[in-house]
């Protein structure tokens, strides 16, 4: 759902703030594109659905329901499949959430970001900490064990102590899944501009490292499993949908700016393609209406490129890349053959950043925090 009521100061997503949304038209296009692409991928069964954006909780439950119905009609949507909706605390009153649940949503991700009002103002969020708390509680009531919260750390001017307090507050409130993101100052955002001109301080690198380590340790102690760079879950409440990204499964992106990775068997394709839908909603709707889908770009991924993606994304998880998963993309060359021989991977193993064993290739606890320093070396080795 590519619309928001206002743009947060740090956001650079493909989202639009418009005075009025023709919901019926958008709904019809989402439905149409979902059907077209599902047929194009000759999808037999859908494992999970994720409503992102924008602010999906601004869409009406009716729209969500219509899309789910379309999905169920074009492919098999098992009863227990994970259906997540991203929600903003300012549009998540209990009745609304109940409406989403009735429409088929069974998991919610609440964009809390911070539990401090001053920080929320700096981030340009629409809600207060109190409103965020209420939203999470409402969500937990309707989706027990299936509520996630998003948190940001490393805000300009945030001290380590302040972060420690936020963490504690969040732990008292959260359910069994937390997505914890280091704030990235993206070019073109209001917040980045403020920092650049000196109105706000740049967070020092070492402090960010400390904050991240603290979070990992604290969450671990609270029973969470750090299963991906930025995602923590306890009692097995992992996000199935996001796991499919990091395992390089197939996924279809529907809606303006959505991304997909699948094989378009419906038109005779046999290779995994990287696809992006048209970014701008009006243009996207026109294309969907005339051609059934608004795919702006599609590029076949070579076997090498697929392996590179698998490597880059797979190592973000604690499970890493299993031998089976690797074999699916590289039947001739095993993980052992590529990374077991003397070379970069062996050196990184010796330095304690990486592990290659019967379980596959994965980062150590320490290695996960510096993954981007390990990847170029591994990519070099893979290319050879």
């Amino acid at each position: 759902w590519p619309y928001c009521r206002k743009r947060c100061s740090y956001c650079n997503f493909n989202t639009y703030v418009v005075p009025a949304v023709d919901e019926a038209a958008v709904r019809a296009c989402l439905v149409r594109e979902a059907q077209t692409l599902l047929r194009l991928g000759q999808v037999h069964s859908v494992t999970s659905v994720f409503f992102g954006g924008g602010t999906p909780s601004l869409a009406s439950p009716g729209t969500v329901g219509a899309v789910l119905e379309a999905v169920a009609g074009a492919a098999h949507l098992p009863a227990g499949a994970e259906v997540t909706l991203e929600a903003n605390p300012s549009s998540t009153c209990t009745s609304r959430l109940a409406g989403f649940r009735a429409a088929g949503v069974n998991r919610v991700s609440i964009g809390v970001q911070s539990l401090d009002d001053a920080e929320l103002r700096m981030l340009g969020r629409e809600h207060t900490a109190a409103e965020a708390r209420k939203a999470v509680e409402a969500a937990r009531g309707l989706f027990p064990g299936r509520t996630s919260i998003d948190l940001l750390f490393g805000l300009p001017g945030q001290s380590w102590d302040a972060w420690a307090q936020r963490l504690e507050a969040a732990l008292g409130l959260c359910d069994d899944h937390i997505s914890l993101y280091q704030l990235t100052l993206e070019r073109g955002t209001a917040l980045a501009a403020q920092v650049r001109r000196g109105a706000l301080p740049t967070p020092p690198q070492d402090l960010l490292a400390d904050m991240y380590q603290t979070a990992r340790t604290v969450l671990l102690a609270a029973g969470f499993r750090h299963y991906e760079v930025s995602n923590f879950a306890r009692k097995g409440a992992l996000s199935t949908h996001n796991l499919s990204y990091w395992r390089a499964d197939q996924y279809i992106g529907v809606g303006p700016g959505a991304h997909g990775r699948f094989v378009p068997r419906g038109e005779g394709g046999c290779s995994r393609e990287a696809r992006v839908q048209t970014l701008e909603p009006v243009a996207w709707m026109r294309e969907v209406q005339s051609q059934g889908h608004g795919t702006r770009s599609r590029a076949v991924l070579s076997p090498m490129e697929q392996l590179e993606e698998l490597l880059t994304l797979g190592l973000r998880t604690d499970e890493g890349i299993t031998h089976e998963r690797w074999g699916h993309f590289s039947p001739q060359l095993s993980l052992q053959a590529v990374f077991g021989a003397p070379g970069e991977a062996r050196a990184l193993q010796q330095q304690g950043w990486l592990v290659l064993d019967s379980g596959g290739l994965r980062c150590t606890w320490a290695g996960l925090a510096v993954l981007d320093s390990l990847l170029p070396d591994l990519l070099c080795q893979l290319q050879r």
Partner: protein
């Protein structure tokens, strides 16, 4: 100007251009005699003989004529192939009738020097011909061959000023599509050897050191020598104080000071050459709002307390960055190099100690901290494609990196560190 067509041919070359198809086109002014196609002429400077292919006038386009007469100004093509054959200021005369060479232009002394190297050694020949062609039309640029461990074979160029250098550089880029690396130049040092073994090796007891790698150890040397120049500065008296400070800062020794008239002073200082080659002239000019003038002449060699300064990364020396420098200036230069290196070497998974050392003694040091967190927070959707592009570029970069000990250094780090500061 007084001249006579009956006199023997006397032509002054005042400019020249190079044409790919027709060869060198020399612009000439005739001070005597006449010249036409078929005449055999000689260059006073090179003593080479040529046959005239074409003469003509410039209107401003070239217009061939039958003959050129004394008093006229035009052009001449005489089968000269090399750019160096038509020296500006040269005199041309007929084969059988040598004349007194005209007083040519006095060559201006270069004031600003720079090392110039091609970005990649494969471009060396291209740069060589580009330089030859550019200097044909600009004879005030002096060119000497030079080489550096880090950057390969190149040149040491002399310019009339910083602006001259910048314009030259721009012309290279625009007209010849050459991008180059400009560095602070090296000067030829000497050492008087005291070790019998080394004297035997070199065959003499005094050697010229061009390369820091050749720098003989203090124990084998009885004396180090650096080239000096005697500089003459003429300035309005209000700038004397600042100029004296500048000269003292450059290790210069005052040799003379006298008032030329009630406003202007002439100062004579003995400078070590390496102190003036980079930016002395421009510093002098800006101190004096442009009023001070500077001239210099070679003044031989003087004894100097020279040392070889090494740069170490985690204890491993980086050969390409070793410099020969005067002891007094070592600390400042070492510190600057370390700071610049800290900014150009990317952070790695371990701490990097960047040190400047003389022998075993560390004189300056910077520390580049290790990465404790380096992983992108969010990686969904569009981020993935972008991420892959960035990572692949980094992987490419890694392949081009040099490994010094366990430290990975990008190829262009040395270049960035050795480059002159173009905006001070």
């Amino acid at each position: 100007p007084q001249c006579n067509t009956a006199d023997p041919l006397k032509a002054l070359v005042f400019d020249s251009t190079f044409d790919h198809y027709r060869g060198v086109i020399a612009n000439i002014a005739l001070f005597g005699g006449e010249i036409a196609k078929g005449h055999k002429i000689v260059s006073a400077h090179t003593k080479k003989r040529y046959e005239v292919n074409e003469v003509g006038i410039l209107t401003p386009n070239e217009q061939p004529t039958h003959k050129l007469y004394a008093g006229q100004v035009g052009y001449l093509i005489a089968g000269m192939k090399e750019v160096t054959e038509a020296q500006i200021g040269d005199t041309l005369f007929l084969y059988k009738q040598p004349v007194e060479p005209l007083p040519g232009f006095k060559s201006a002394k270069p004031m600003v020097f720079a090392g110039m190297y091609p970005v990649d050694q494969t471009e060396y020949n291209n740069l060589k011909s580009a330089l030859e062609r550019l200097t044909l039309n600009d004879s005030s640029v002096t060119v000497h061959r030079d080489s550096s461990l880090a950057l390969g074979a190149g040149w040491r160029l002399g310019f009339l000023g910083l602006l001259h250098m910048e314009v030259f550089n721009q012309r290279l880029e625009q007209e010849y599509n050459m991008s180059v690396i400009l560095t602070a130049p090296t000067v030829p040092y000497k050492a008087v050897l005291s070790s019998a073994k080394l004297i035997k090796e070199y065959g003499k007891d005094q050697i010229t050191i061009i390369n820091p790698a050749q720098f003989p150890d203090k124990l084998s040397v009885s004396e180090y020598l650096e080239p000096t120049v005697l500089g003459t500065i003429v300035t309005p008296h209000e700038y004397i104080g600042k100029i004296i400070t500048l000269c003292q800062d450059r290790r210069a020794v005052q040799k003379d000071m006298l008032y030329i008239d009630e406003n202007r002073v002439m100062l004579k200082y003995l400078f070590p050459l390496n102190e003036i080659v980079v930016d002395f002239y421009d510093a002098l000019k800006s101190l004096s709002s442009g009023y001070a003038s500077f001239d210099y002449e070679d003044a031989g060699y003087q004894s100097a307390d020279l040392i070889k300064m090494d740069i170490l990364l985690n204890g491993n020396p980086v050969e390409e960055l070793a410099t020969i420098i005067h002891n007094d200036k070592a600390y400042a230069a070492g510190k600057l190099l370390c700071e610049r290196l800290k900014e150009t070497i990317p952070r790695q998974l371990f701490e990097i100690a960047i040190q400047a050392a003389i022998g075993k003694k560390i004189i300056a040091s910077e520390t580049l901290k290790a990465y404790r967190k380096n992983v992108v927070a969010k990686c969904y959707g569009g981020d993935i494609t972008r991420r892959m592009k960035l990572l692949k570029r980094q992987a490419e970069g890694k392949r081009l990196m040099r490994k010094i000990g366990n430290v990975e250094v990008p190829r262009d780090a040395f270049i960035r560190v050795l480059k002159r500061e173009t905006d001070k």
